[in-house]
């Protein structure tokens, strides 16, 4: 009985997929793009989508003789939605690749789908170290764990900032970054006076900043998710930390390109380490920034956007390498070890961990042509995720 109904069901499914996809199944490669387009993380979704579209605008929509079609779906930042949508994209829409995933739990929720369906998923935003270990089909083009924090520690220790307080948002990536920074900073002879963790939701930094001020450090190292940075910056100045001579060093999330201009002069002089600045000086980046600005009402691309752009670049390159073969396992194999020049600079997908290896830049917030930018002044080449050997 069970086997009969099962067979019936499979026939039905096959029939349906035939009916709906027959006409252009041979020529089209579908890529499912799952992003938070609504809710508190909507800005992430908007930026990644802009990056994906920019790549297609600049490089056309055909690769290896196949037409690439991106199917955008909103998961509102809710993990069970992400999981259902991912599964539907694979089963119903016949997506041969998945892309997106704004937050760590959203990415982790699709791991079982990938294992069953054997479809690669390119992560454009989520950064926690563990993600790529949870499925052999995860490949990442955003950032791996505390990649951006470790060079900041080295830089700070070299530049006379010996006594530092860390302040991070209390969730997976924040704790990753706190550990990455602290380990490196201690190795370089620095001293951590205090490690402050602030709640992720409804952040009011005032009481924490007061504590930081009272310990009188040389600098405070900060990680808060993109979007919260502007509130932090405002309170940092209001609480008189800058006047007290405390330097602000951070990961690039705090001075997110998307929001930097709105922070005003309070942000001037902040030192951050990150993998992308819209001000990066290269032909690839100029074309990328111009395209995103043109297509999105003059919006400045940020590091999320470049994650989406590179995810598409990787998808195209993998399809080219497999000659248009959409077998998931072959695509992942093709992605391993891939190296190219992105708008952010040279990047590589590590063949073993499927994670990104990239240059991290030290930047200072400066005024360029009347706008605030993260201006790069030093490069740490080929930084790997310090959490994975």
């Amino acid at each position: 009985m069970a086997s009969v109904s099962r067979r019936l069901f499979m026939t039905g499914a096959a029939l349906c997929s035939l009916l709906f996809s027959h006409a252009y199944a041979a020529e089209t490669v579908k890529i499912g793009l799952v992003l938070p387009m609504t809710g508190p993380f909507a800005s992430t979704g908007r930026q990644v989508e802009a990056g994906v579209k920019a790549y297609m605008a600049l490089n056309g929509d055909t690769v290896a003789g196949k037409k690439v079609e991106v199917v955008l779906r909103d998961d509102a930042g809710t993990a069970d939605q992400t999981r259902r949508i991912a599964q539907e994209l694979v089963v119903k829409d016949g997506a041969s690749m998945l892309m997106g995933f704004g937050l760590t739990p959203l990415a982790l929720s699709v791991a079982p789908v990938l294992a069953q369906a054997k479809v690669p998923a390119i992560i454009t935003s989520a950064t926690t170290s563990i993600i790529t270990q949870k499925s052999d089909y995860f490949v990442r083009t955003s950032m791996a764990g505390p990649q951006s924090a470790v060079p900041v520690a080295t830089w700070a220790a070299k530049n006379g900032l010996k006594r530092v307080v860390t302040l991070v948002s209390d969730y997976g990536p924040g704790i990753d970054i706190e550990k990455g920074f602290t380990d490196q900073f201690k190795k370089d002879g620095g001293e951590i006076l205090e490690a402050v963790r602030v709640p992720l939701q409804n952040p009011d930094f005032a009481p924490f900043l007061q504590r930081v001020r009272d310990t009188k450090p040389d600098a405070v190292f900060v990680f808060v998710p993109s979007g919260v940075g502007s509130i932090f910056m405002k309170q940092f100045v209001e609480r008189g930390l800058r006047d007290a001579g405390i330097k602000l060093i951070a990961t690039g999330d705090v001075t997110d390109d998307d929001l930097l201009n709105g922070m005003g002069d309070a942000a001037l002089g902040v030192i951050t380490g990150h993998f992308y600045s819209a001000n990066h000086d290269s032909a690839e980046n100029k074309a990328f920034v111009a395209e995103v600005r043109k297509a999105n009402n003059n919006m400045r691309p940020n590091f999320m956007s470049v994650g989406g752009y590179d995810a598409m670049a990787l998808a195209y390159a993998a399809l080219k390498k497999t000659n248009g073969d959409t077998d998931g396992t072959k695509l992942v194999e093709a992605m391993k070890g891939m190296a190219w020049t992105s708008p952010r600079g040279p990047i590589t997908i590590d063949a073993k961990t499927r994670d990104i290896v990239q240059d991290i830049y030290m930047r200072e917030v400066k005024k360029v042509d009347g706008e605030l930018y993260n201006v790069e002044f030093a490069t740490f080449p080929k930084v790997r995720d310090p959490n994975t050997p």
Binding site: T78, A79, K92, L108, P112
Partner: protein
């Protein structure tokens, strides 16, 4: 006046109310048929079944005991986490996991039910809300147990009864959820159509008068609140088992709000309200979010406002049949009093 005819009258009334209606048969046949007729929609159907069970559990306390809750996700979330942890540490057998998760959520319901015995509606609303916030933050902080903000992953669920494996199409998952929903409904139906259910309705109308009639409100509220928590725990466990993942948003406030919305949409106090609401809400959301990924929330808001303005009674089948019957000129002996009673 002998007590006998009155008693007979009462039990006849209860029996009449408890009888299965043709519409109900139709609904379940459709639901079962969907498993085979819509092979590409199984995941959405599972989601509907889970939300329906969750909304039904809320209906038990809102519609029957008159306790408004803004924190029902607490039980849903506890059930979800319990199912996840059980499968990671104890057994991956789904039925055992389901029952134990329901029991754990039920224990929490029993413990917190004493908090909703006192106070006005507003107090109860705030109490339930507070409890769910407490549990949500506890789950976020206890990262060693719950995985914190990253959620629980690596959950593997065995085939049901060792026979039916959870497939990628989600058919097994849907049939599993549907079976649990059906079983839960049958039990809930028996309970609310028993004298116990009637006494709950009496408490809802006027608990003081009910007490004077010899109905003890507190004990009954504790029982129904616990049962409702068990059902919510089942729903949460089903979500974990069909998605093999638990994220902290199972406890989020929006889940409590959504389920209340679903229930209001479908109608309160007749068990199927949650089911109908779940169908409308989920289908609407899935459809709109595909058509317009950026702006679907605007449209869903608009549709909800329109539905409320039009009057949700229009989608209540009992009244719809009553309305159709009066229009077609046929008298509706059973439906008319029903409609009056629910007004």
């Amino acid at each position: 006046m002998s007590p006998l005819p009155r008693q007979a009258l009462a039990s006849a009334f209860l029996r009449r109310k408890a009888r299965w209606k043709p519409l109900e048969y139709g609904f379940w046949i459709l639901a079962l048929g969907a498993a085979f007729a819509l092979p590409s929609q199984q995941l959405l159907l599972s989601e509907i079944a889970i939300l329906a069970l969750f909304a039904m559990s809320l209906d038990l306390i809102v519609g029957y005991a008159g306790i408004l809750s803004l924190g029902h996700a607490a039980f849903f979330g506890v059930g979800a986490y319990a199912a996840g942890l059980l499968s990671l540490h104890l057994t991956a057998e789904p039925l055992t996991g389901l029952i134990l998760s329901g029991a754990i959520a039920g224990l929490l319901g029993l413990a917190t039910s004493y908090l909703v015995l006192r106070g006005s509606d507003l107090t109860k609303l705030m109490t339930t809300f507070g409890v769910s916030m407490l549990i949500s933050e506890a789950a976020n902080q206890a990262a060693w147990l719950t995985g914190g903000a990253d959620g629980l992953s690596g959950i593997l669920i065995d085939p049901i009864a060792g026979l039916f494996e959870f497939d990628l199409f989600g058919q097994t998952g849907y049939l599993y959820c549907l079976t649990v929903l059906f079983a839960a409904l049958v039990i809930a139906r028996r309970i609310v159509h028993a004298p116990f259910g009637l006494s709950l309705k009496a408490i809802k109308r006027n608990s003081r008068r009910a007490a004077m009639l010899g109905i003890s409100p507190n004990r009954r509220i504790v029982v129904i609140y616990t049962l409702s928590a068990v059902y919510a725990g089942f729903a949460g466990a089903l979500l974990t088992q069909t998605t093999s993942f638990v994220s902290p948003d199972v406890l989020a406030f929006h889940r409590s709000a959504d389920v209340l919305l679903v229930l209001v949409l479908g109608g309160v106090g007749y068990l199927y309200g949650g089911v109908i609401g779940a169908v409308i809400f989920t289908v609407l959301r899935a459809w709109l979010s595909v058509v317009t990924p950026q702006y679907w929330m605007f449209w869903i808001g608009l549709v909800l406002v329109a539905l409320v303005l039009v009057g949700r009674d229009r989608i209540n089948p009992a009244r719809l049949t009553a309305w159709v019957r009066t229009k077609t000129g046929r008298a509706a002996p059973s439906a008319a009093p029903l409609a009056k009673e629910e007004a």
